[in-house]
Amino acid sequence: MELIHHKILGITTIVYLFIFFAHIVYFVVKKEIFLRSAWVLIYFNFFLHTTGILFRWFESYTLKMGHAPFSNLYESLIFFSWCICFMVILMKKRFMYPLISMFSILGALFFMAYASISPGVDKSIQPLIPALQSNWLHIHVITCFISYAAFLISFISGMLYFMGFRWAVLPDKETLEEINYKSIMVGFPMLSAGILTGAVWAHYAWGSYWSWDPKETWSLITWIIYALFLHARFVRGWRGKKIAFISIMGFLSVLFTYFGVNFILSGLHSYAT
């Protein structure tokens, strides 16, 4: 069934594509106006994206299965993209360089497109099964995905660090490290909060706050990788490539926690996000 929110989110996806192209044009013709219009579009799309999510929420009530849109793979992908856009706006003031915003928006575009195109992703609104009927669901999902979005930005700056050539629009290495660290400063506490709230939820739903289900185990591995990042930087004083490498590994672990575990390993979590 085609619902209003599917249309809104469809337009959102297209606008992300426009934002991406606006960045490309900016890099080619080097006119500020294109970067500025990209930012206007980012703000506009953040609004549109939010509206789309709210409509899905609202429409779930009209279908008599009312619940916040955080409960299956489709909804989590849409929310992940929203978090990416949110982080881009949050970090704009001091740390946003066009290359970083371009790749972040590309990430948001990718997850939106994956959500709407992949046949493996069920777009319909489903009712909440008993295990998900908990207020912990909301805070758990929100904290986890904000951290994932922050880690995406850390990943992008880590990858850009390895760009060998000098490029006028490439931020200098020190700035890239700074962006990397700043995004982990948001991501790490959020991931910790996500894991802890997940544990509290598991206590109420399954009777045990930790059961070494694959998703839990992998989120712990991810958490340890980012703890390694912080220790390498602050205790060992590591800088440069080694640090960038850890942030890349961290995000790969995030991706595996998010997707790999769902598709490869099965566990208590795999029905949902």
Binding site: R94, Q126, P130, V186, S192, L196, A199, Y204
Partner: protein
């Protein structure tokens, strides 16, 4: 198999080597954290103003005319509230100074969580109990290598159990209505559902599964009797037990095998519900008729005791506070040094250097400070 037995891999979390490794990690963490903590403590109590060159080398600094000192202090005090040192040579202001203890809280919270989980490993246990409507239980089964029955310390009666489904067939809600009984008195009644367990006398009782078991409705000499598998029925020296249920025997429909005593000898026979000739038998002079086979719902409850949960929750809370303090509290120091002809104002950020910088620039602008050359 030997390896599995040796390392107790069937039950890693109770294996001595696993607990040993965690204890070792915990000791390591404690020692590291404490030494760092003491070092920081000393650092903090060492409060003297760096010399002029050090101050000039800080990223943030400016100089002021001598007579502006009072102005400067009042403006600075709005942003950097704490004075940690005041002397002839100058003043040290500080903000967010507790930021440096965030790390300490984080590591201690990890330790507390480990202690809590260890307490749970040692003194906690997990079990389950299965109830049909009307059942009363005083014991549950312990999970583990050997099944063991453990008393609740009270009794549970399942007053009702309901499963509801959404139109698309997905489960919507499982609800067990329980009566908690002590000394033959009903203390209270509670509904438990997924995400809404009962906590009583240190035991947590969770809704975890459900299913159906067959119930056999017999008429034995005109008396209706409902039996489940292995329920023993005895009357006037006649004993029978339904021992095996089959959903379909060839294509004759459902049937149940019943064991009984014939002249002291155990014998078995089958009853088939849908075949008139096979639903009625004469056993030891009793007329036994299988009237019906019903599917009866049972509810599976998970029973756990974990005295470490409170400790773990405390650790969680401390970790969140520690993370907040470490990552979001803006911290820095600002120095005022009285030099021969000018006042030097300099600052350094402990965390969030750029935020300290913004505030420093504001202070500088409002005082019209000049860059030292």
């Amino acid at each position: 198999m030997k390896i599995i037995d040796f390392f107790q891999l069937y039950d890693i979390y109770h294996a001595p080597w696993f607990i040993g490794a965690i204890v070792f990690f915990a000791i390591n963490l404690t020692v590291c954290t404490l030494t760092r903590f003491l070092k920081k403590w000393k650092e903090v109590s060492r409060n003297n103003i760096p010399d002029e060159n050090t101050l000039y080398n800080m990223k943030l600094n400016f100089t002021l005319k001598k007579e502006k000192e009072d102005d400067a202090i009042s403006i600075i005090n709005k942003k950097f509230k704490k004075k940690v040192y005041e002397g002839e040579d100058g003043i040290i202001f500080e903000k967010g100074s507790f930021n440096r203890y965030g790390v300490f809280l984080i590591h201690m919270s990890i330790l507390i969580i480990l202690i809590g989980s260890l307490v749970g490993l040692i003194w906690g246990y997990k079990g389950f109990v299965v109830l049909s409507k009307g059942d009363l239980r005083e014991y549950f089964f312990l999970r583990g290598k050997e099944a063991k029955e453990v008393p609740f310390g009270f009794a549970l009666r399942c007053k009702d159990f309901n499963v509801s489904f959404y139109p698309n067939g997905a489960p919507k809600d499982y609800v067990t209505r329980l009566e908690i009984i002590e000394n033959n008195k009903v203390l209270f009644e509670r509904e438990i559902r997924v995400n809404n367990p009962l906590n009583y006398k240190g035991l947590n009782i969770y809704q975890s599964s459900y299913g159906t078991t067959p119930a056999f409705v017999f008429k034995i000499d005109h008396r209706e009797v409902v039996l489940k598998e292995y329920d023993e029925y005895e009357i006037e020296g006649f004993i029978m037990v339904p021992v095996r249920f089959e959903k379909a025997i060839h294509n004759f429909g459902p049937g149940v095998q019943v064991a009984f005593l014939e002249d002291g000898e155990p014998k078995t026979t089958w009853f088939l519900r849908d075949i008139p000739k096979m639903k009625e038998r004469e056993l030891e002079g009793k007329r036994v008729i299988l009237e019906d086979i019903r599917e009866e719902l049972w509810t599976g409850l998970e029973v756990t005791r974990d005295p470490g949960t409170g400790i773990v929750w405390t650790g969680f809370g401390l970790m969140l506070i520690g993370l907040y303090i470490n990552f979001f509290v803006v911290a820095g120091r600002l120095y005022i040094k009285r030099s021969n002809d000018v006042i030097i104002v300099a600052a350094s950020g402990i965390k969030h250097h750029e935020k300290i910088q913004i505030e420093f620039e504001k202070i500088k602008r409002s005082l019209n400070g000049t860059d030292p050359s």
